[in-house]
């Protein structure tokens, strides 16, 4: 018998990841660290989506080893997470390039020292 708190623990974990990631972003002293924090904010969405898709006692939505009628978790959420991860990886690459260029042009990697771009 699991406690009642298990019912809402995944949502709390997602909210916590979002919160700590956001705190990391606002207090960041290095752009690469900031992008890492953004990735943590995004990982909150992975936890949230996969938790929505989870069904108690269900197997994977892949009917290779067991017949198609077996209960399975929500495949729609898994597809959304896959999209999420791919987009996250590419956006991270693009942001890292912007950091590289910013460092080359201004020699700054600390977001708190950077004046607004004019």
């Amino acid at each position: 018998m699991t406690g009642a708190w298990v019912g809402w623990l995944p949502w709390a974990v997602a909210a916590w990841l979002f919160g700590v990631g956001l705190y990391g972003i606002i207090s960041s002293r290095h752009y690469v660290h900031l992008i890492g924090c953004l990735t943590i904010v995004q990982s909150a969405t992975y936890v949230l989506l996969l938790s929505i898709g989870y069904r108690r006692g269900a197997g994977p939505p892949i009917f290779h080893a067991h017949p198609p009628s077996t209960p399975a978790v929500d495949p729609v959420m898994q597809v959304l997470v896959l999209t999420d991860i791919v987009v996250g990886a590419t956006v991270t690459a693009l942001l890292l390039v912007l950091v590289l260029q910013f460092h080359k042009r201004r020699g700054i990697v600390d977001p708190q020292q950077a004046a607004p771009l004019t």
Partner: protein
């Protein structure tokens, strides 16, 4: 904005949102007990109507195929953006010399590293190929397989050093593979249009469930996605690693006074 003001603002917002979250959490749908009629329909339909065992792949490349096409183009745009930003400032020149930090020795990879990288490089490549090929029957698919294959490329860099790596990784080839993959996806959608059906309608013979060719259009789209992803990530790796090279222009400037 001053850092202190920003932190204060964040803490104030967090303090405001926290009680609301605590109140709301117990009223969320219970974990593991959430109705999803769409999932039920797809889980029932995919093995029967599409002859596909991996429902995630069926959703990705068929039911939600148009969304994945958008995702594919996000990848393409991001890689293009990275290439334009980096190559634009670096120029088209290439150099096989390592950029060196003053006072830090350049250590060539040891024999053990080369051996391990060669073994695992091949293994990673084969694993990636297998994951990509069996998209419709076992966990995996074009995105995962493509990334695995591209990781195999990085192991080649680790084992052979930059020069050997660049001999294998031709930027033009990676460009072509990526673009061809995206083109295959777009072209697959037009098969249905040709027959007077909506874009991305799966009209090819579906094959037997469990085989590599099951799913009609899906294995073709999957192959396209695999190519696009491995080409895209290969391109990203090339562009980022090029950044660690000595700029040939700067090199000429520094070496000119010596001669």
């Amino acid at each position: 904005m001053k850092p202190r003001v920003r932190t204060a603002l964040f803490l104030a917002a967090a303090a405001g949102a926290m009680p609301a979250l605590v109140r709301a959490l117990p009223h969320f749908p219970a974990f593991g007990d959430h109705p999803s009629p769409y999932a039920d329909r797809v889980l029932a339909s995919a093995p029967v109507d599409r002859h596909v065992q991996n429902v995630v792949t069926a959703l990705n490349f068929d039911y939600r195929g148009f969304d994945t096409l958008g995702e594919e183009f996000i990848l393409l745009c991001a890689v293009t953006g990275v290439t334009v930003l980096l190559r634009g400032s670096r120029g088209e020149h290439r150099s096989a010399r390592t950029g060196q930090v003053e006072g830090r020795p350049v250590i060539p990879p040891g024999e053990a590293v080369t051996l391990i990288a060669r073994l695992f490089g091949v293994a990673t490549f084969v694993l990636g190929l297998s994951v990509a090929l069996h998209a419709t029957s076992t966990p995996g698919g074009g995105f995962q397989g493509g990334v695995l294959i591209a990781s195999g490329f990085l192991l080649v860099f680790l084992g052979e050093g930059y020069r050997g790596w660049r001999a294998m990784m031709q930027a033009e080839l990676m460009d072509a593979v990526e673009a061809a993959g995206a083109l295959v996806y777009v072209g697959c959608g037009l098969v249905g249009v040709w027959q007077g059906l909506p874009y991305l309608t799966n009209t090819l013979p579906l094959g037997t469930a469990g085989s590599v060719w099951a799913g009609g259009l899906m294995p073709v789209i999957n192959a396209g996605v695999t190519c696009a992803v491995l080409g895209g990530f290969g391109m990203l790796f090339i562009e980022f690693l090029e950044e660690t090279r000595v700029n040939p222009d700067a090199e000429q400037d520094t070496e000119a006074p010596k001669s």
